[in-house]
C-alpha cells in the first residue's frame, strides 16, 4: 500500500515537472493596448480609416514623396515635396476639394520656384510658413503668395559656414516667431524672431555621459574610437504646436536600451525654456511599442516621425517602424494603438506626417502618396468624451462614459480607474478599492484604502477599546484576585 502511494506521489511530482504547452493564436487585431504587465490586449477599433485620397482622384496629378502636412480649420495643406508644390485642400461634410496648388511664391512680379519643400505651417490669418528645403530657406508668405520674409541660414559662430542649411520642419506661434528644425542641427530647434532674424536655439537635450563608454574609449585605439558613437545630443525629427503653444517634438535617434528606462524620451513637450514638461503617469513611458520582436523583417523599437496634439490634450504619435499610431492622453496613459504596414486601407507604407481635424486624424504616406482620413468610432469617441469630462472635473459624468467604454472593452484599464475615481469621490471607498485593485493602481488604491481604514476605525472604535481593555485589564484583575486570595490564605 505504502509503495503504491509512493509511486503515485512520484508520478504526481513527475507530472509537475513538465511544463505545459501554450498555444498562441495568430493575431489579426487592428487596434490594441498594453496592460499593466506590458502584454498586448486586443481592443475594439477606436479609429476607422474612412478614405485614402490620392492626387489623381483630386484631378491634380499624383503626389510624389509628400513630406509635410498641416491642417487649419477645414483646410488641409500638403507639401508635395517631389513635385515642388504646395496643395491646399478643403474638407466639407460631403467632399474633399482642391482649393489651390502652387509651386511659385512672390506673387506676379518676383516669382521664385519652390524646390523640394518639406513642411508647411499655416497661421490663423492665412499666412503660410514653408520649409523650402532645396532653396535653403524658410519662407513666410501671405495668402496671396507674396513673400513677407525669408529666413536663411543662421549667421552664428556655432554653425559650419560651408555646410548646407536644410530646414525640414517649421511651425510659428501667434506673434510670428518661427521655430524650425534643420538637418544635422542638434542643438534643439532654431528660433527666428517675428522680424525673421535668428535668435537662438531652444530645447537641446542634455548630453548624457556614459561611464562604460568612457572606459571603452580609454582602451580602444584611435580608429576604433572614430567608429564609436559620438557623444552628441539627439536631433529632433519633428515639431508640432498644441493649442496652448507648447511644442511637441519627436526624435528617433536614441539607444533602444534607454527607452524603457525613460531616458531616451522620444516624445517631448517643451515649454518656452526648452524644458521637457510631458506628464508620464502611465504604466510605461510614451515610447510606442513596449516590446519589439522581429516580424516580417521589421525589427527594433517604434520610431516616431510626427506627432499631433488634439484640443483635449491627447496626442497621437506616428511610428515609422511599424506604421502605427499611438494615442496618449494628457496623463501619458496609452489609449490605443492602431495602424500597421501594408497596402490595405488603414495601413501605411512609409508614413510621414500626422495631423488632426477636430477629432479626426489625417495621415500622409510618402511612399504610397496618399492621405488617409481616420474618424473615431463609437468606442473611440466615448473614450474622448470621458477624458474631456475628466479634464473639466466632471468625474461622475466621466465615469458614466467609462462604464459604457467598459461594456465594449473589458480590458480598458483607464475605464476601471476612471470609475474607481468617481466611486472614491462619492465616498464608496470599498467599491473604489475593488476597481483600483483590478488594475494595480497603487496610488489611488492607497488613497481609497486610507479613507476606508479611517472610516472603519471610526465605526468600530468602541469594539476596539472594549477588546483592548479586556486584553489588558482582565489579566491584571485576575492577578489581583489571585494575590488577594493568596494573602487571605496566608492569614
Amino acid at each position: 500500500m505504502k509503495s503504491k502511494l509512493k509511486i503515485f506521489f512520484f508520478c504526481f511530482v513527475l507530472a509537475w515537472l513538465f511544463p505545459t504547452v501554450t498555444v498562441h493564436a495568430e493575431k489579426t487585431i487592428y487596434t490594441y493596448n498594453y496592460d499593466f504587465w506590458g502584454i498586448e490586449r486586443e481592443s475594439p477599433d477606436s479609429y476607422r480609416a474612412e478614405v485614402t485620397v490620392m492626387g489623381h482622384s483630386l484631378g491634380i496629378g499624383d503626389f510624389k514623396d509628400p513630406q509635410g502636412l498641416f491642417v487649419r480649420g477645414n483646410l488641409i495643406y500638403i507639401c508635395d515635396t517631389g513635385n515642388n508644390r504646395i496643395v491646399v485642400l478643403k474638407k466639407d461634410t460631403e467632399a474633399i476639394t482642391v482649393v489651390e496648388e502652387f509651386g511659385e511664391v512672390g506673387g506676379e512680379t518676383a516669382a521664385t520656384a519652390l524646390l523640394g519643400p518639406q513642411d508647411i505651417y499655416a497661421a490663423a490669418n492665412g499666412d503660410m510658413y514653408i520649409a523650402d528645403t532645396g532653396n535653403q530657406r524658410i519662407l513666410h508668405i501671405d495668402a496671396g503668395h507674396r513673400v513677407v520674409k525669408e529666413m536663411r541660414k543662421p549667421e552664428d559662430e556655432t554653425v559650419d559656414k560651408l555646410s548646407d542649411f536644410l530646414p525640414v520642419k517649421v511651425v510659428a506661434d501667434r506673434s510670428g516667431r518661427t521655430f524650425a528644425l534643420a538637418k544635422n542641427y542638434n542643438k534643439g530647434y532654431l528660433v527666428y524672431g517675428s522680424d525673421g532674424i535668428f535668435t537662438g536655439y531652444v530645447g537641446a537635450s542634455e548630453v548624457k555621459f556614459n561611464m562604460v563608454d568612457y572606459l571603452w574609449k580609454m582602451v580602444s585605439t584611435k580608429e576604433q574610437r572614430a567608429q564609436l558613437e559620438q557623444f552628441v545630443p539627439t536631433e529632433y525629427n519633428n515639431i508640432a504646436l498644441d493649442k496652448d503653444g507648447f511644442i511637441y517634438t519627436t526624435t528617433s535617434v536614441f539607444d533602444e536600451n534607454e527607452l524603457l528606462k525613460d531616458e531616451a524620451k522620444p516624445i517631448r513637450k517643451l515649454n518656452s525654456m526648452g524644458v521637457d514638461i510631458l506628464i508620464k503617469n502611465g504604466w510605461y513611458p510614451p515610447i510606442g511599442d513596449i516590446s519589439w520582436g522581429n516580424a516580417g523583417g521589421v525589427t527594433g523599437p517604434s520610431k516616431f516621425v510626427d506627432i499631433t496634439a488634439l484640443d483635449n490634450d491627447t496626442y497621437y504619435a506616428l511610428d515609422r517602424t511599424r506604421g502605427r499610431i499611438f494615442g496618449y492622453d494628457f496623463q501619458g496613459n496609452l489609449l490605443y494603438v492602431f495602424g500597421g504596414l501594408g497596402n490595405k486601407l488603414g495601413y501605411f507604407q512609409l508614413p510621414a506626417a500626422i495631423e488632426h481635424m477636430g477629432h479626426e486624424l489625417l495621415v500622409l504616406d510618402s511612399k504610397s502618396a496618399g492621405l488617409t482620413f481616420f474618424s473615431p468610432t463609437e468606442y473611440g469617441s466615448l473614450i474622448n468624451q470621458a477624458l474631456a469630462e475628466y479634464k473639466r472635473g466632471n468625474y461622475d459624468i466621466s465615469s458614466e462614459y467609462w462604464e459604457k467604454v467598459l461594456m465594449m472593452d473589458g480590458n480598458n484599464d483607464l475605464a476601471y480607474i476612471g470609475i474607481g475615481r468617481s466611486l472614491l469621490r462619492q465616498g464608496k471607498y470599498k467599491e473604489a478599492m475593488t476597481y483600483f485593485e483590478l488594475k494595480y493602481d497603487d496610488n489611488n488604491y492607497s488613497k481609497a484604502f486610507q479613507l476606508y481604514r479611517k472610516q472603519w476605525i471610526e465605526a468600530n472604535i468602541g469594539w476596539i477599546f472594549v477588546l483592548f481593555f479586556l486584553a489588558v485589564l482582565l489579566p491584571a484583575a485576575a492577578g489581583f484576585v489571585r494575590k488577594v486570595k493568596k494573602e487571605v490564605e496566608e492569614i
Binding site: 511544463p19 497603487d442 496610488n443 488604491y445 492607497s446 484604502f449 486610507q450 481604514r453
Partner: protein
C-alpha cells in the same frame, strides 16, 4: 498505554526543540553550538521550520497586498516556486557538507540541515505576520513593509554565518569564505545535473528516433 505515552513524550520533545529555535535566533553563537553539541535541536523541528518557511513563501504570493507584490497568475507555477525554494536548501546543504568535510569542518550532513532549518526561523516569524499586516498598509507606508522584509533576510543571513561558524568550528572569515565556496559548489552541482539531464534526454531521443525509423520502415 505505553505507546500513547511514548508518542506524547515524543511530541513534547519535538515542541521543546522547536521552542529552542527562539533561543537560537536571539543567541546565535551560543544557540548553534548547543544545537549540535548539546543535542538541543532536532531534525523534526528543522523540517517543520522549513515547511513553514515554504508555506510563508506560497501564502505571500496569494495574500500579500497587491501594493507590494504583483503577480501574473497565468505565469505562476507552484511546483517551480516550491522547487526553487527547496532545491537551494538541499543542494546548499550538500555542497556545504562536501566542502567542509574536505576543509576539516566538524558538522555532519544532518547537523548542517538542522542549522539551516533553525536559521530560517526569522523568515517565518517576520514575513508570515507581514502578509497580514501588508493588507493594512497604504503605498506610502510601504517602507515599513520593505524594511521588515529586508530585516528578516539580514537576520537569516547572520544566523547562517554563525551556524557555519559554530557547527564546523570555524573562524568568522573562514565561515564566510566557505559560504562563498558553497555558492560556487551549488552552481557546480546544478551544472552537472543539467549536463546529465541533457545527455540523458539526447540518449533517449536517439532511441526514440531509432524506433521511429524502424516503425516507418516496416509499416
Amino acid at each position: 498505554m505505553m505507546l500513547i505515552n511514548n508518542k506524547r513524550k515524543n511530541i513534547r520533545a519535538l515542541a521543546e526543540t522547536l521552542r529552542y529555535s527562539l533561543y537560537v535566533i536571539t543567541h546565535p553563537l551560543d544557540g548553534f553550538w548547543d544545537l549540535t553539541h548539546e543535542n538541543r535541536g532536532s531534525v523534526g523541528a528543522a523540517n517543520i521550520i522549513i515547511a513553514m518557511a515554504l508555506l510563508t513563501q506560497l501564502f505571500k504570493l496569494q495574500y500579500t497586498s497587491f501594493l507590494f507584490i504583483k503577480i501574473i497568475w497565468e505565469h505562476v507555477n507552484v511546483a517551480q516556486i516550491i522547487l526553487s525554494f527547496l532545491a537551494p536548501i538541499f543542494i546548499g546543504c550538500l555542497a556545504n557538507w562536501g566542502l567542509t568535510t574536505l576543509f576539516d569542518g566538524k558538522g555532519s550532513m544532518k547537523q548542517i540541515y538542522m542549522a539551516v532549518g533553525y536559521a530560517l526561523t526569522p523568515y517565518v516569524l517576520i514575513q508570515f505576520p507581514m502578509i497580514f499586516i501588508s493588507n493594512l498598509m497604504t503605498a506610502e507606508e510601504g517602507a515599513f513593509y520593505s524594511y521588515s522584509i529586508t530585516f528578516s533576510l539580514i537576520w537569516c543571513g547572520i544566523l547562517i554565518v554563525s551556524a557555519v561558524m559554530m557547527i564546523h568550528d570555524y573562524s568568522l572569515s573562514k565561515a564566510i569564505l566557505m559560504l562563498v565556496a558553497t555558492i560556487v559548489g551549488i552552481m557546480l552541482i546544478v551544472f552537472v545535473l543539467l549536463l546529465f539531464f541533457s545527455l540523458v534526454s539526447d540518449a533517449v531521443a536517439y532511441f526514440v528516433s531509432l524506433y521511429k525509423e524502424i516503425v516507418f520502415r516496416f509499416y
